[in-house]
């Protein structure tokens, strides 16, 4: 059977997927810690004489640095360089994020907006330290002042899987390391990690200008493919009209 329609359809699908990804990037231009992903196209396997279309969807996660934005809030952290914060949800599952917006829970631990606990090595309870005196340094060390003396309260470790490209994006800026991938932490391998900036958040790494131009290209490619389908449809109509 004539496969031109199927080829055109593959082009529509691929460009639709690209548009979805671009829309996601544009929608998240204001999302802290957002990491965009790149969709690319690939030719399909050859059929008889000609290749049978295109496919898209192989994504590359783009972990390039977002610009740190000053918020002045005590529990906002931006990582400058490599590394991820680790969060643990109510079920005990751990995942990684670059979104450093945290708050102090009623139990005196650091949690994100959804109540997932930030992984911190606590030396003592945060509640015993006057909140106003607490500082977080570039290595993630939390210190506070009690009765005029500086106390090391704990440390926020950063994590990095051996291969960040293999991580699974589970939405809301959260990533799961691939099964079996070795995970490094900033306590044992401090040289691999970037620094933590207190009072800053990492802005989205969306590139709006590029996203807009990619949107235009994908949209035009989409119409081009639909044009090919229309023309194939014309030919098929002519075939049907051969015998009147």
């Amino acid at each position: 059977m004539f496969s031109a329609l199927g080829i055109g359809r593959s082009g529509l699908h691929a460009n639709q997927y690209k548009l979805d990804s671009v829309a996601d990037e544009i929608a998240n231009v204001g999302t802290d810690g957002y990491k965009k992903s790149n969709v690319s196209f690939q030719e399909l396997l050859p059929g008889e004489d000609v290749t049978l279309g295109t496919k898209a969807g192989i994504k590359k996660l783009d972990f390039s640095q977002g610009v740190p934005r000053e918020t002045g809030y005590r529990w906002d952290f931006a990582i400058e360089g490599d590394g991820f914060f680790s969060l643990v949800n109510a079920d005990g599952d751990a995942f990684f994020t670059r979104d450093g917006a945290f708050q102090l829970s009623q139990e005196g631990t650091l949690v994100d907006y959804a109540g997932n606990a930030l992984v911190v090595e606590y030396n003592q309870d945060l509640e015993e330290i006057p909140v106003d005196t607490m500082q977080v340094n570039a290595e993630g060390g939390i210190s506070g002042v009690v009765d005029g003396e500086v106390v090391q309260v704990g440390r926020i470790p950063l994590f990095m899987p051996e291969n960040p490209q293999q991580m699974i994006h589970i939405g809301e800026g959260k990533f799961l390391p691939a099964a079996g991938d070795q995970v490094f932490n900033s306590v044992d391998n401090p040289e691999m990690f970037g620094s933590i900036n207190q009072g800053f958040l990492e802005s989205s790494n969306s590139d709006l200008t590029r996203a807009m131009t990619e949107m235009i290209t994908a949209q035009r490619a989409y119409s081009l493919n639909s044009q090919a389908i229309r023309s194939t449809d014309d030919i098929m109509r002519m075939i049907n009209e051969m015998k009147r």
Binding site: F2, S3, A4, I7, G8, S10, G11, A14, N15, K18, N38, S40, F41, Q42, E43, L44, L45, P46, D49, V50, T51, L52, G53, T54, I58, K60, D62, S64, D82, M160, E162, N163, P164, Q165, Q166, A178, D181, T217, A218, A221, L224, N225, Q227, A228, I229, S231, T232, D234, I235, M238, I239, E241, M242, K243, R244
Partner: protein
């Protein structure tokens, strides 16, 4: 008369193939490293037509001249012109400024070649294609090796991406995924440097493909009209001649 229907049928089959091919080029307008294909048609070998007016035995052999039974697909030609370079800034993207190809090891141990420098990192930090085929590198002493990268896409083991050049007119076999094989084994490893952070885009010329779509549809229409006319004449011959 029936001969003409057969000739037109052949032509229409070729036009359908061309439509598939054009659809495919259109579907791959955004595929990096894609090389567009053209279908070249030719007239079939001609045969001498002979008429024996009074039967074979009467030996009044009359040559009617040469007869062509129609057209056929001569070859599917891959245009290897260079595509446009796009700066992506991705450290895993490479483009080749001259006419060479990247070498890639397929899963079965076979060697394939590609112009598509849209690479990724696998779980062992090796440079691979999007489908996971390993990219072949050359060490300083000329031996082949894998290409090991760090998190930032810098090559760790001193290897360079192997570039292979083919003589003009070498017949490369297209195997899909923008990969080619070299059945004749005429490729030569050359000294050359791939440019990092750039991608070579598809070399499809959109306006040409658009014109081709129109051309194919109209040619098909003309063939269909000719077919209808033949059919009408045939109908006259069958139904009207001999009617009193």
């Amino acid at each position: 008369m029936i001969r003409s229907i057969n000739t037109l049928n052949r032509n229409m089959n070729i036009l359908q193939k061309k439509q598939e091919n054009t659809s495919n080029n259109i579907a791959n307008t955004n595929t990096p490293g894609y090389k567009y294909q053209e279908i070249v048609q030719s007239t079939m070998e001609n045969h001498t037509m002979v008429n024996y007016t009074e039967g074979r035995q009467a030996s009044s052999r009359r040559e009617l001249g040469n007869w062509v039974f129609g057209n056929e697909i001569d070859q599917v030609y891959t245009n290897t012109d260079q595509g446009q370079f796009v700066e992506t800034g991705d450290p895993l993207d490479y483009a080749i400024p001259d006419r060479s190809y990247f070498s890639v090891d397929l899963a079965g141990g076979e060697r394939a070649y590609t112009r598509n420098g849209n690479f990724a990192l696998d779980a062992d930090n090796r440079l691979v294609t999007m489908e996971g085929h390993q990219v072949v590198g050359t060490l300083a002493d000329g031996t082949e090796s894998e290409i090991l990268l760090d998190q930032n896409g810098n090559i760790q083991n001193g290897a360079r991406l192997q570039l292979v050049q083919f003589p003009e007119g070498a017949e490369l076999e297209r195997i899909g995924d923008t990969l080619f094989t070299d059945p004749a084994g005429v490729g030569q490893v050359v000294d050359g440097e791939a440019v990092k952070g750039f991608l070579e885009m598809s070399n499809v010329i959109v306006a040409d493909e658009m014109v081709r779509l129109i051309q194919i549809a109209r040619e098909f229409e003309a063939n269909q009209k000719a077919l209808q006319t033949s059919d009408e004449t045939l109908s006259k011959a069958v139904n009207d001649i001999g009617r009193v």
